[in-house]
Subunit: 199 residues, 2 copies
């Protein structure tokens, strides 16, 4: 048959690809090694041999690099737009992050993984543009909450109004929010006569 005796590293990659897709679509618990193996046209035991356990397979599949741009090289008033665009594009093209988010909903270990991604990548990338270093993590977390909220509504809950919006509309609405969280002087700029962002 098509017993082409694939190259090992090759099958490993194929397993990983299928696993990412399954984890992204169904979450950790509802994804079975058997299903992954079946779709990768391979025996379940091979998955174990390559990755050791389902846990380790997930960890390998969920290695995430947000590839966030250097925000200091971007005009202040385009930070929000840049970030929103970046994330929506990322979600649309690669399900890995969504897989992790889904799992985090029911698995503390995955939540911990998200926390470390937040701390190591989001908070770090965002800190330089914060007006007050002590508040930087808080600002980053607020921005993350809005971005993740969009991801939740668009890809997990599939709320029609959010799904129907194209990227530009989402950016137009959400970017100002991100800008305010990251760079506004106080918490409630919209309630004072003063302007937001660059004075």
């Amino acid at each position: 048959m098509a017993d082409t005796r694939r190259s090992g590293a090759e099958t490993r990659e194929r397993i990983l690809a299928v696993a990412r897709e399954h984890f992204a679509r169904q979450g950790f618990d509802r994804t079975t090694i058997r299903a992954i193996a079946s779709e990768a046209q391979i025996d379940p035991s091979m998955v174990m041999r390559y990755f050791g356990s389902k846990e380790e397979l997930f960890t390998a599949a969920a290695a995430i690099d947000l590839a966030l741009p250097d925000l200091t090289e971007i005009p202040r008033d385009e930070v929000g737009r840049t970030l929103v665009t970046h994330f929506v594009r990322m979600w649309d093209s690669d399900g890995t992050l969504m897989a992790l988010l889904r799992r985090a909903a029911s698995d503390p270990a995955a939540a911990e993984q998200m926390r470390s991604i937040f701390a190591a990548q989001v908070a770090r990338a965002v800190a330089p543009v914060s007006p007050d270093p002590s508040q930087a993590p808080r600002r980053a977390a607020l921005a993350a909450s809005q971005l993740l909220g969009i991801a939740l509504g668009r890809y997990v809950l599939v709320l029609p109004p959010i799904v129907d919006m194209d990227i530009d509309e989402i950016v137009a609405w959400v970017a100002p929010t991100i800008d305010r969280y990251l760079t506004a002087e106080s918490a409630q700029p919209d309630q004072d006569p003063g302007r937001v962002g660059s004075s």
Copy 2:
């Protein structure tokens, strides 16, 4: 022993209470009928007799009334504050909504349930304060995305900066966002010199 032969409706309620707590903390898949029964000091088969199946038990446990206030009776510039406060209080006191959110992450049926709650309660409550009826669902969805993002960060991912904020701080930061989504004239008010909300 303590075979007090409870009143039936009473045990039913106790099962429901335990179930809500388990679903909220661990999600649907990781919650077992056996664990619920055990904690309710009852036989697993009783759960089936009362609720038919695990699915139906969840449905019964996840019947949610957001108890949203009538926004038309509230000053325009306090809508955001009111909503944020309402939701955070609700999440803090009752895990039912979080249970549903958790399950929605991996179960399309639960996601559908969230959509119907959104449509029947959130979108409906929020529509009257929208300046343009055709955009009302979109505005409601954006507000929901931010609110759910906070829930995600605070209760599911347990992002430290969000957990550390007290209700007042969260309200101070997020309320303006909600206000803008619901009532701002255009999508990007922060980028124009004009003011937001009540002119």
